[in-house]
């Protein structure tokens, strides 16, 4: 078991009115699993993902990662976990606009204190792998949405994390680029990476092995995907 949550609650206090975004979530995710999280807007999907990916801490409950109780980890330790153990892909890409593709991909390694030479080598390998070799020196705001999201994946991969977290990664992409992206995630899963993906689309969710449905901050259903999609039977790309 790689990830485990026990009765995790998250409450946002804003003066008098408190929002109970998560109201007692317990779940476990195994190493190498491909999990999709679905649910209505405002149901608490992103809040859950932020806790799973060490971006925020639960209000109560326990959070285990790789056998360690990280519920009481310091901010510094959490930053270190974000740096080394997980990678992110956001709906809105979140690339540094005035930096090149290479610089964007190198960014996590900067905070891992990796030497410039190794940084460059490793970044170039990942960039090449995602088919962006010809874009290395381009500024990230000169890229198309699909390319941007692949840079984001390269950035997520470059520190060789255990888990990739993706919050609606295809949300800002056209269906062709979206599908291409799912192909990349599928491939990473094939190599043994654990993947946790938030999506609205049943079609995208069906790339995963398992779907967790969230409603009003609680798990409504946790199902195994019977008929999985694969990039091999994609509709849009030849």
């Amino acid at each position: 078991m790689l990830i485990e949550l026990q009765d995790v609650k998250k409450t946002f206090d804003e003066g008098e009115s408190a929002t109970h975004a998560l109201r007692g979530i317990s779940l476990s995710i195994n190493k190498g699993e491909f999990v999709a999280i679905m649910g209505a807007s405002g149901s608490g999907k992103s809040t859950l993902l932020h806790i799973l990916s060490f971006l925020s801490r639960p209000t109560s409950g326990r959070h285990f990662f790789d056998g360690k109780d990280v519920s009481n980890f310091s901010l510094m330790d959490l930053a270190n976990l974000r740096n080394k153990s997980v990678g992110f892909v956001f709906q809105s890409f979140n690339l540094l606009a005035r930096a090149t593709v290479l610089e964007n991909v190198e960014l996590p390694m900067l905070y891992a204190n990796i030497r410039p030479k190794e940084r460059r080598q490793r970044a170039l390998i990942v960039i090449e792998r995602l088919g962006l070799g010809h874009r290395t020196k381009h500024l990230s705001n000169q890229l198309s949405g699909g390319e941007k999201q692949r840079v984001a994946i390269a950035r997520a991969l470059v520190n060789q994390p255990e888990v990739i977290f993706a919050d609606e990664p295809t949300g800002n992409l056209d269906s062709s680029s979206g599908e291409q992206l799912m192909g990349v995630l599928e491939e990473l899963h094939g190599e043994g990476k654990t993947i946790v993906l938030i999506t609205h689309e049943t079609y995208t969710a069906a790339f995963a092995e398992r779907i967790i449905h969230i409603k009003d901050g609680l798990i409504e259903a946790d199902t195994v995907v019977e008929e999985r999609h694969s990039i091999k039977d994609h509709k849009f790309i030849k």
């Binding site: 932020h50 971006l55 925020s56 901010l75 510094m76 930053a79 270190n80 974000r82 740096n83 080394k84 992110f88 956001f90 979140n94 540094l96 005035r98 930096a99 960014l107 996590p108 900067l110 905070y111 891992a112 204190n113 410039p116 950035r155 520190n159």
Partner: protein, 412 residues
């Protein structure tokens, strides 16, 4: 994050906002330049005055009548008639002041001198003939008055180069007669142009035997100064003591607070001048330092704007593993880089201005105004600039570092 990467990151984001960065550091540039300029001009002025003090001679002691002024309101004591002919005799006595090589009385005052129909305002100095070796000042035309002239109150004068020019133009002055307060005096010598290298402006002066000045021009029986020249510089302190005890004896003074004279030496004057110019310089520099504070507030303001603008960037950096400390350092370093660059620019500008000003002043004052590159001030300036970056960057940097990553990533 390594230090080198930190610098690269900071420079990159400053470069991305180049014109804003330049405008932001203007306050620091002006502040540092102003302080540096004041410091170097202060040092220059001090040099100039000290240079003039050199001309007094390091072996001489001036005895000044009256009580030493102890404060700005103590000016009345400047008028005093306590130094008399009898004091001169006592001081010349080797039993009293063994190291006195020369004892030269001095009277002075401002008078109008007339030649034919021209009149001219000058300063009259009554001396013995020994002023010449004392000030290394010998007539370039004619000759000096003599000991006999002093003895017999002769009506002879030596005139400064400017006086000569004003009254005689290119004509011969030696042998001509001038009138001062109804007394006719004969010009026996004309002084060379001496310039501003002394406190006494000899160019615009008329020198007479002191006896003549006392009896015929000012009508007084006392001296305005007595100059004692010692045989060796190292004997100045002991001679000061000798003079004081001699004069106290002569004036029947037992309580030092009742002294009706005081002494001035080159060393003492230099100390006073240094102290005064240093205080003045520091004061003006402190005023200039206010602009540094204003500049610092400007830096803080811009850094806060920058933190707000880059909220998402901060969120992203945190998401990929930046610690609070990494973010804090990045923004602190940005502020520091800005102010240090500002400081460096200020130093360059003040150096250029200082050089120009020193050339202009040298011409204007007809003296050598040396530009001193204030190395210490430069180093201090750089450190202060960097320090201002740290101080005023601290608050914005902390704000950046403490941003919650989720909130920051959601920021529109």
């Amino acid at each position: 994050m390594g230090f080198f990467d930190l610098i690269k990151t900071s420079l990159a984001s400053l470069n991305a906002n180049r014109s804003r960065s330049v405008l932001t550091i203007l306050g620091i540039v002006i502040g540092v330049a102003a302080i540096m300029l004041v410091m170097s001009l202060g040092a220059g002025a001090q040099n100039l005055i000290l240079q003039q003090l050199q001309a007094i001679g390091s072996k001489t002691i001036a005895i000044i009548p009256g009580r030493e002024p102890k404060g700005p309101t103590d000016f009345l004591s400047a008028f005093s008639d306590s130094l008399k002919e009898s004091d001169l005799k006592q001081l010349k006595n080797p039993a009293n002041v063994p190291h006195a090589a020369r004892v030269i009385p001095m009277v002075f005052g401002s008078e109008v001198v007339s030649y034919k129909n021209d009149t001219y305002q000058t300063t009259i100095f009554g001396f013995t003939e020994h002023y010449a070796p004392l000030y290394d000042l010998y007539p370039r035309e004619g000759q000096n008055f003599t000991a006999d002239d002093v003895e017999s109150s002769s009506s002879v004068i030596v005139i400064g180069s400017k006086v000569k020019e004003e009254l005689f133009g290119n004509n011969e002055a030696v042998g001509e007669k001038l009138r001062i307060k109804g007394t006719t005096l004969r010009v026996v010598g004309v002084l060379p142009k001496k310039g501003g290298a002394s406190f006494i402006n000899f160019d615009n002066a008329i020198l007479v035997p002191y006896t003549t000045a006392q009896n015929y021009i000012f009508g007084i029986k006392y001296f305005n100064r007595i100059i004692v020249e010692t045989d060796e510089e190292i004997n100045v302190p002991v001679t000061e003591i000798d003079i004081i005890s001699t004069l106290r004896n002569a004036h029947n003074i037992t309580d030092p607070d009742k002294d009706d004279f005081f002494l001035e030496t080159q060393a003492g004057a230099m100390e006073t001048v240094s102290a005064i110019t240093s205080v003045m310089t520091l004061f003006v520099a402190a005023v200039a330092a206010i602009s540094l504070l204003v500049g610092g507030v400007g830096i803080m303001n811009i850094m806060l704007v920058s933190v707000t603008e880059r909220t998402r960037e901060i969120g992203l950096r945190k998401a990929v593993g930046a610690t609070d400390r990494d973010i804090m350092r990045q923004f602190l370093l940005e502020a520091m880089t800005l102010t240090t660059l500002g400081g460096a620019l200020g130093i360059i500008i003040s150096t250029l201005l200082g050089l120009i000003i020193s050339v202009v002043l040298s011409k204007a004052l007809n003296a050598t105004w040396t530009y001193t590159f204030p190395v210490v001030a430069m180093i201090i300036g750089l450190f202060v600039a960097a320090g201002i970056g740290i101080i005023f960057g601290l608050y914005p940097a902390r704000r950046a570092a403490r941003l919650d990553p989720v909130e920051a990533l959601r920021y529109e």
